[in-house]
């Protein structure tokens, strides 16, 4: 499995825990509009969970600029995160 795919699967697990919804399926095109409960508080919880999972420090403004999950995966990939 490619590293980007593994990052996506880990992100999906994070989203499922935070939104308490096992039916969430992420793909590169998923946006904040697709997940109704995605708000400013959950955004911070996602960042904190990613920092813990991938052992990186994230800048919230960079995350806000991402158009979709694909860009988030690319960003984590560019930081050489361990999966």
């Amino acid at each position: 499995m490619s590293q980007k795919k593994q990052i996506l699967i880990k992100l999906q697990n994070i989203f499922r825990i935070i939104f308490d919804d096992d039916s969430i399926k992420l793909n590169s095109n998923t946006t904040a509009e697709d997940i109704e409960e995605w708000d400013s508080l959950n955004q911070i919880r996602i960042i904190l969970a990613c920092e813990k999972e991938f052992l990186v420090k994230l800048n919230p403004r960079e995350i806000n600029d991402f158009v979709n999950i694909g860009e988030m995966v690319e960003h984590l990939f560019s930081k050489n995160v361990k999966v």
Partner: protein
């Protein structure tokens, strides 16, 4: 200069457009120069002395931006932010700070430089974005244009450089006939909202607030503040639509500020739809970093994740509106409302039916608007004491002639002194409320204007009603910030 003034509509804007399109059609790349010149003229028109302040702010931030980008040192960013905060603190908050923290007793009657809250915050965001390397510093003329572009200078929308700068570079070669026609339509929807709707609600709001200490009753207080909510929405969303429309006339797409806020089913929903660019600014540049920082340093729990950052954010966003405690309370009511809403969701409490969620949202908003509209804290508290005292619920005395309601006390109510006036009041309210829910968000990128007779007739009606109502020239509420 006001967008709804004759000098702007009949002289300034046409001249600016003609010169812009002459330049655009020529081989010279002078569009930003001509628009910056007109923008500075627009700013200086009524109060030329503050132009110096605007230029000092622009020039300083231009140098800060280049220094931050070149050296990439956090302390330069910090100095830049402190410079901007000091500027606004001195010109807008010095009496408030002296009275609050130094025990002074100065009458808080500062004459605040026009648009200082907007151009200061826009440039703080710019410096942070430069530090993040999400944008590069601009050439001086582009920086001047980005800050001073007249459609957004006085009262927003707060524009981020990364949204507007890519458009500046394409301005010369872009075919903008469709954008121009859409701009005309959006501008006149905004002008109609302002001069026909908002300004005509002013007397209904003033009669209530002018009689706060004069036997105002329960029903009058709720009616008055509901009318104010409509006035404020049409005033500010009208201004924002005009700003977007004007941007489109020059081929530029400014961000939207409103998205049918009175349809909101929760207070979280409301703040995604009301003054969107300010909410984004505070979310991106204050709430998110503060919440993350506190959660990393202290503990990842709701106190540091949600409660403290939200209270700080909303108190400061309240203060952004004005140097008065009433604005602190305006922010506080909304902040507490949002915290409760987030906690409700976090603990998976049952989802409220739409109508109940809507009612709770509107009640919270209306309470916060009392602080927004009242002249001072004392007035606001007295107004609220009436709103939450059902024992002074009286029906209008003239109603007794028609219906006999035993359990209701009747009294002479100045606001509803006669049946005719009451019916007129209700018609105005229902008409305005329906329009607040039904007028589509024409400033949104999703709105598509169709070239047909329906829209042509609608535009003609909007222009007609707006021009007829132009003579009042009531200033925009958000110009004071």
């Amino acid at each position: 200069m006001l967008f709804n003034s004759e000098i702007f509509l009949y002289f300034f804007l046409p001249l600016c457009l003609v010169l812009f399109y002459i330049i655009k059609g020529s081989r010279y790349r002078l569009e930003t120069l001509i628009l910056s010149f007109f923008s500075l003229l627009f700013y200086a028109w009524d109060e030329p002395k503050w132009l110096i302040l605007l230029l000092i702010s622009i020039v300083s931030n231009y140098f800060f931006a280049h220094k931050i980008y070149k050296d990439n040192r956090r302390y330069i960013l910090t100095i830049g932010i402190i410079f901007n905060i000091s500027l606004i603190a001195w010109f807008k908050y010095r009496y408030f700070i002296a009275n609050t923290f130094l025990g002074s007793n100065i009458e808080n009657n500062l004459f605040i430089p026009l648009a200082i809250s907007f151009f200061t915050f826009q440039q703080i965001a710019f410096l942070v974005d430069i530090y993040d390397k999400s944008i590069k510093p601009l050439k001086f003329l582009d920086h001047l244009f980005f800050v001073s572009f007249f459609p957004q200078l006085i009262a927003g929308p707060i524009v981020l450089a990364k949204d507007i700068v890519p458009q500046i570079n394409k301005m010369k070669d872009k075919q903008i006939i469709n954008s121009f026609i859409l701009g005309v339509f959006v501008f006149f929807v905004g002008l109609f909202k302002k001069v026909f709707l908002a300004d005509n609600l002013v007397p209904y709001v003033n009669i209530g607030f002018n009689n706060i200490y004069n036997a105002l009753t329960f029903i009058e207080a709720w009616s008055t503040i509901s009318m104010f909510a409509l006035q404020l929405y049409f005033d500010f969303s009208g201004y924002s639509d005009m700003a977007v429309g004007l941007g489109l006339l020059f081929g530029l797409r400014l961000p939207i500020n409103f998205n049918l806020p009175y349809k909101s089913k929760s207070i979280i929903d409301f703040w995604k739809r009301w003054h969107i660019t300010l909410t984004k600014f505070f979310t991106f540049y204050l709430y998110s970093p503060l919440s993350l920082y506190m959660s990393r340093v202290f503990s990842n729990n709701l106190i540091f994740l949600l409660i403290i950052p939200f209270l700080v954010t909303f108190i400061l966003s309240g203060l952004w509106h004005g140097s008065d405690w009433k604005f602190v309370f305006f922010g506080l009511v909304n902040g507490v409302g949002l915290i409760v809403n987030h906690l409700w969701k976090f603990y998976k409490m049952p989802k409220l039916p739409y109508i109940l969620g809507w009612l709770l949202t509107m009640m919270t908003i209306l309470v916060s608007f009392v602080f927004f509209r009242a002249n001072n804290m004392e007035e606001a508290m007295h107004f609220l004491s009436i709103m939450f005292n059902p024992s002074i619920f009286f029906s209008p005395h003239w109603l007794e002639q028609y219906i006999d309601i035993k359990f209701l006390k009747s009294a002479y109510i100045p606001l509803f002194s006669s049946g005719v006036f009451t019916v007129k009041y209700l018609v105005v309210f229902l008409f305005s409320f329906t329009l607040a829910l039904k007028i589509p968000n024409v400033a949104s990128i999703n709105f598509k204007l169709k070239y047909n007779w329906y829209y042509a007739s609608l535009l003609a009606i909007l222009i007609l009603f707006s021009i007829i109502n132009l003579n009042k020239q009531v200033s925009f509420i958000y110009f004071q910030f």
